[in-house]
Symmetry: C2
């Protein structure tokens, strides 16, 4: 039996990805800049246009589409299909009536889900989490996203925030204030949005090679650490230890067999995974055995595939 | 309908509590020193004797008992009724066949559960967690125990460690090594077992009133903080901030409406609860509303009641 086709949207902080999805396949896709700091409402007509173009090019009639699946950052009420709270990006999203927009645009039903949950569903159904009953995803990007499947069920919690706030667990009780309002979160201690400010506050910054960089991101940090720049080395190791603490907290919280790690940062550090694996094997308390650390298989498409899956299966 | 009677045992680090339990009532109880650093096997005959005495005094025949419920620290396989791993106390517990002991002693079936889970079940069914679908317990004692009920179900996870390791979430990535092997856990940063060593390592210790104390525990710490001893003030606030971070991490992890706080330490600090409540309201990311912080209702009996409940309801 062929699975029905769905329209999937992954509203990332920097890019919006759109796809026509059928099971584990993306039949066609498009991408546009997100300008997420300017809100989402103004992008909706461009998103509609891009999807209509995909349908045209693929010669797919909208009556053959099962529904629309949207993946978005923030805390999402997946029953009411509302964004409850979102941290900086797409600040106007809580006021948007996605159901009406999907109905008015294509006459289609809709699912709305947090992006890390959608990505985990994609990995779990079609990627490197296949066949697992207990799997946690940690994505290292602009922020740090997390989600959990426990005993074969996506963890949501009564207010839809269980599993997705691993980036906002306090890992440094004496640390700085996060965008979310909490202190010493994983994100404020180690993520793309907080890195530059942290690096510039270090005494070693004045004599670091990082000072010559137009943009201090993890690519620059990993590059200069390899060149033995003292500040870059120190900050890289601190960031890796923060991610390891995040991973261990997720393991202690959700009891998975597999930890999937994805996100934009994975491209710039070939030894992130082995480092995390080693720390987890040293430090996590898992008497049943060792949690396996794996790269997410297809981070670019996982949220699209997951959003498509959720249109058809209200797991 | 009257509930059947069960035998309940709460194997604490310092005291072993025994009870005959019927629903939310403890018909009779007894208590003995645990000597948990000497293991559990040698205590089993004394436990049997004490239970037999309770049955005698209450004139209850063992044929009228529905089963035996045991609450014990550590990671517990509640299906196989085995202790998988235990941190210091009762080091021999993983080798004990509780099922055979219960059968040989009284011919009774058995349930075995982690102590924080048993206590939460007691609170949830009979105490201050009644009627809640989403509730987390944090107990501040020798260690820091936690457990969670999510959407009306006790969280266990596939390897029985989900929910109960909140005391071993890293809250200080630059902190010291915990008994469990991990770094900067809540327990090593703030619990009864770690307090004395932490206090003695402080530069202010030489001139602190705490130096005159025979035993540096939280009672002493709270007492001298009230007297404005500088070290006691500093350490009290640090410990409270660690527990607040623990509470916030539990809220971010499990999405409860109510956080119950119990444990031996609650006796010595009337402002622990208001402090936690204020920090949580300031710092936790819960757009749906405010998590309510409540004292556990009957911490002395919650684990007994929960163990009794679990004999009758394999939740």
């Amino acid at each position: 039996m062929t699975e029905p086709i769905t329209i999937a949207m992954d509203l990332g902080g920097t890019k919006i990805k759109l796809g026509l999805v059928q099971g584990g396949n993306i039949l066609a896709q498009a991408q546009m800049d997100a300008y997420s700091d300017q809100g989402l409402r103004g992008r909706l007509p461009y998103i509609k246009q891009a999807i209509d173009e995909l349908l045209d090019v693929e010669r797919i009639n909208v009556v053959d589409i099962a529904g629309l699946g949207i993946s978005i950052p923030g805390i999402v009420d997946s029953r009411k299909k509302k964004v409850l709270s979102i941290d900086k990006k797409y600040g106007d999203a809580p006021g948007i009536d996605f159901t009406s927009w999907a109905r008015a645009s294509w006459g289609l039903p809709l699912i709305l889900e947090n992006d890390a949950r959608a990505a985990l569903v994609g990995e779990w159904q079609y990627g490197n989490g296949q066949g697992m009953e207990n799997v946690v995803l940690m994505t290292l990007g602009t922020g740090v996203g997390t989600s959990a499947v426990i005993e074969g069920k996506v963890l949501r919690g009564s207010h839809y925030q269980a599993g997705i706030l691993g980036g906002h667990f306090t890992v440094n009780v004496f640390g700085g204030r996060c965008n979310c309002g909490n202190m010493g979160c994983v994100e404020v201690e180690s993520s793309s949005w907080s890195l530059e400010e942290k690096v510039k506050a270090q005494p070693l910054y004045a004599e670091s090679k990082l000072k010559g960089e137009p943009k201090i991101d993890f690519a620059a940090l990993f590059h200069w650490a390899e060149q033995k720049d003292p500040l870059a080395l120190q900050m890289r190791d601190e960031c890796l230890d923060v991610w390891a603490a995040c991973a261990i907290n997720l393991i202690h919280a959700y009891d998975p067999e597999v930890l999937l790690v994805g996100g934009g940062i994975m491209g710039s550090g070939a030894y992130i995974l082995p480092y995390l694996q080693e720390k987890i094997h040293q430090l996590a308390w898992t008497p049943w055995g060792k949690v396996e650390v794996r790269a997410a298989s297809s981070f670019d498409s996982a949220a699209l595939l997951g959003a498509g899956y959720l249109v058809l299966h209200q797991n």
